[in-house]
Assembly symmetry: C5
Homo-oligomer: 253 residues x 5
């Protein structure tokens, strides 16, 4: 669970709600047609932007990466690889049969080793999986960024609708204030949707995608070396370059 994402969204929402409640009634900030224009319009424009299948995949990927802390820490992959290499030295590749590996990609690679597939086939297969996952993740990022670009625009469109309607019917001066208040709600919704949710989520996806690249290269290398029954000592040297601070003897988070 990536606490920062959740804390951030909940905290931001709470602060906005609290700030509204100090100054008045929360009810004045809830208006169904305004919500429909901003969320519906943003969704509609997103449907024009992206192929339908991409939208659904992007939504899933986005949620998964942003909120979950994937088991992609390079150090833990390194530790497991050294451990597995030790097992292979003692019992051969079949000794890996009963081993449980948390990381999905690595688990799949190890399973292929146990199944006796050729090194080349394993490498191609897990490299392709890495590429596909990466492509899906980058689609997820561009999906959320696209939403973040559209939300303020539809907030403005909603406000323009409200202003035109208010201005066309100025007969009752007492209605001007509340009508303008409602008109501004769509801009408010668009700004919150974009700046608290969509754009920060896209940014977090970008950072996480960047961080996992190294770990994935480490996983591919680990699986290949384990398949080759590499000596655990040599493996420490080979995989050490993928660790942020060198070999495990050093302290770091």
């Amino acid at each position: 669970m990536d606490l920062a994402t959740l804390i951030g969204i909940v905290l931001g929402m709470d602060l906005i709600v609290a700030s509204i409640m100090i100054g008045g009634d929360l009810g004045a900030f809830i208006n169904i047609p305004s919500i429909v224009v901003v969320f519906g319009g943003t969704t509609a424009a997103t449907l024009v932007k992206f192929p339908l299948s991409d939208c659904i995949a992007a939504l899933k990927i986005g949620g998964k990466i942003a909120f979950k802390n994937t088991a992609d820490d390079p150090r833990s992959v390194y530790d497991i690889a050294i451990e597995l290499a030790g097992i292979v030295r003692q019992k051969g590749l079949l000794g890996l049969e009963s081993v449980q590996v948390e990381n999905e990609l690595m688990a799949r690679g190890i399973r292929m080793c146990v199944d006796g597939m050729a090194a080349e086939v394993i490498k191609e297969s897990i490299s392709k999986e890495v590429d596909m996952t990466l492509k899906a993740e980058m689609q997820g990022e561009s999906f959320w960024r696209g939403m973040g670009d559209m939300a303020p625009a539809f907030g403005m469109i909603g406000t323009l609708i409200g202003l035109v309607q208010m201005l066309a019917n100025l007969s009752d001066p007492a209605a001007i204030g509340p009508a303008m208040a409602v008109a501004m709600l769509t801009t408010f919704y668009g700004a919150v949707l974009a700046n608290l949710i969509c754009i920060p989520l896209a940014d977090k996806l970008e950072i996480k995608i960047d961080n996992t690249k190294n770990t994935r290269a480490l996983i591919v290398e680990s699986v290949m070396q384990i398949h080759a029954s590499q000596n655990p000592m040599v493996l420490q040297e080979l995989l050490g370059v993928y660790l942020p601070g060198g070999k495990p003897a050093e302290e770091e988070e």
Copy 2:
């Protein structure tokens, strides 16, 4: 038919119309001179931006790609290529004479094979067609993006015209509201045109162009291998690298 594009535009329009109807009369949002300024002005600036022939081609290409689901799925091209290679092994290149291939580019390549043209000529010819199509598609994208950049600007120009006229004649206070309402309509038109249609269409073109690059490389490779009467088994290996998830045995959408 790319449903997402159509659903998106229709849904977006419906939401905006519905949102207008909840708050008042749709008639207040239709103003012919405003429509003329925004759509005409955007078109005029687009004519200055792009050579005339590009505009027409871009409009056609844009509509075609955005709304149609072209038969450019790499898996289907792969399946057809394997099938055709089998036919060639049995009956020779002339056996392809009666085969119907849905994909236009591939069909043209196969026809050239049947016509007995040299491999080099076929490759150059279909590669050139790929380049030309790609260039036309990228012109289409930049055309729609250019429209999307211009529309809000002419929306603002129209609003400025309306505001200046209203401010120059403040004698009748009752007319201020409706005059401002009309002035804001052009901004509204510009925002809807840009954010619901032009920019999302340009984005979708960009994504589709990107997606087809791989498929087109696959088609060129397929035709060349079929021309060389490649063994279908070997062909599966050779073309498998173009598929997003490896060979067809794997499950994926």
Copy 3:
């Protein structure tokens, strides 16, 4: 004559004028001091931006490229090159003496061939001319883009001047409207100047510069091959790669 550029600017202006005339008097939109601030200020900032000599050259180049349809169609260059190569095969390089070539760059290259200059000298000379022209054209583009960046800024500066003056003298309420109307005129001028003229012209220059690159490479190659008395048949092959759709036998625009 590049009709699109002219039609676009005239059409855009007409639409704006028509839209003004529907709603009132054109006179309300003409204000000499406002014109002076926007056009003068934009010009002043452009003088700070670009060296003086660049400004004049850029203005000329910009007008020339944007409005003229230069004889830079690759197909016509190709046709002429094949024709000239035939003449050279029959009568030698001196046979080109009486030939009229429309394209300036090519004409210069051919004249150098007739004058008996060395291949290397000709190549260097016309390549340098291509580079210089390209540099001048790109300066032209950045000049117009710079104008397009500055115009809205000086429109806003003019509006701020008008607003400050109006606000400082609120004694006569009847004067507020017209004063604000005049203040907004500069924003209007800046928006029209930037979005109908400067930015679209810069965009068109960019597209035309991009399009001529290929033609110019074709011209340099043509002249070199003609100088070498290349066989017209071989020349067709050599130059065919510069044509958008392959050799002339194919149909295309």
Copy 4:
């Protein structure tokens, strides 16, 4: 101590406070809920944007680099390296045991030399430290830039909340002014936070990161040469290329 950073922030704050005090009361510019929305909202969005551990590290790194004048002046590193090389020539590597080096990275490298570690190990170790520090610094920069992007957005969100509340309750005209004043405070906070603190700090980090790259390469080279007991004369030549103005004989700041 980087005086410019401190002077800039203090001076900017003083100018803003002074400018407020000339026109009225400072109290009108302090509003707790507004501060909560802008600072809290920006913090919340930053938590969504960056992994939690990055935030804390970035905050520390940012403060450290922006306010401290690190001992990363290439000239002083050069001088120390020449001095140390002299000591090594006279007393061997162990002669460095009692030497105090201010620069942390260099000190660590020298300590490893004294400890008799292999050249390769030292190089890899300090190169890795350089990479890790660089990555942390760049995270610091993007953290502050991200804050600077978010602050104006949450300023606008706060203002929208205030405006909607004011417009929904227009019954008391006397309350409109003060309510709008409070609503605008959040925009003010967001603008000051972004433009006086976050964005300039990010820019300064960017410049400092750029400047230290050269010095760090010089440190790595110095340590390697000292380890190799390089002749101080030769070392002057080798390290001179890292100095901005050549060898120390020349005058410069």
Copy 5:
């Protein structure tokens, strides 16, 4: 003296002042606290952005390049180089002793030749000077661009201060107009400072830096060839490639 820069700034200022005087009193546009907020705030943020030493250097470099027409015309350097090469052929390198070269960089190179320094040393020395100057010039550009980014932001901050103060004290309606007028002055100052001075100066620096790159390469080459007592005829060929339009026989500005 680069007249365009001076004419541009003076002309722009005059136009703005004239435009103010047509509509009213210049005095209404001068407000000391507003000037302090905009200029002081921009300066403060710039101090946070750039190291202190960079600020001063950048200011000097900026002024020097923007207003002076440096003797960096490639043609004049070319002419001097040919002339000096002739002198060297006749009297040897010592014959250059009494020659006055206007361009500082070239003069320094020639002086080193006369002083009998080795070719390598001269090349390294003047290349380093070129790099240092280039770096300083690019700092100058980014300094002015940074000022141009900050000025409108502090203009807005000043306007927000004024608006909040005005809105908090709405008791006297007669004071609203003038108070708002003053509030808008800071936006006006920020816009003029950014769009007439800072951004155009940064753009001119960018263009000039780009233009001098070629001349500086020519100077380095010239000095090296003169040092080698190159034949003036050969030198013409060698240096001709640095001229925009080939050798001096051709006409051009």
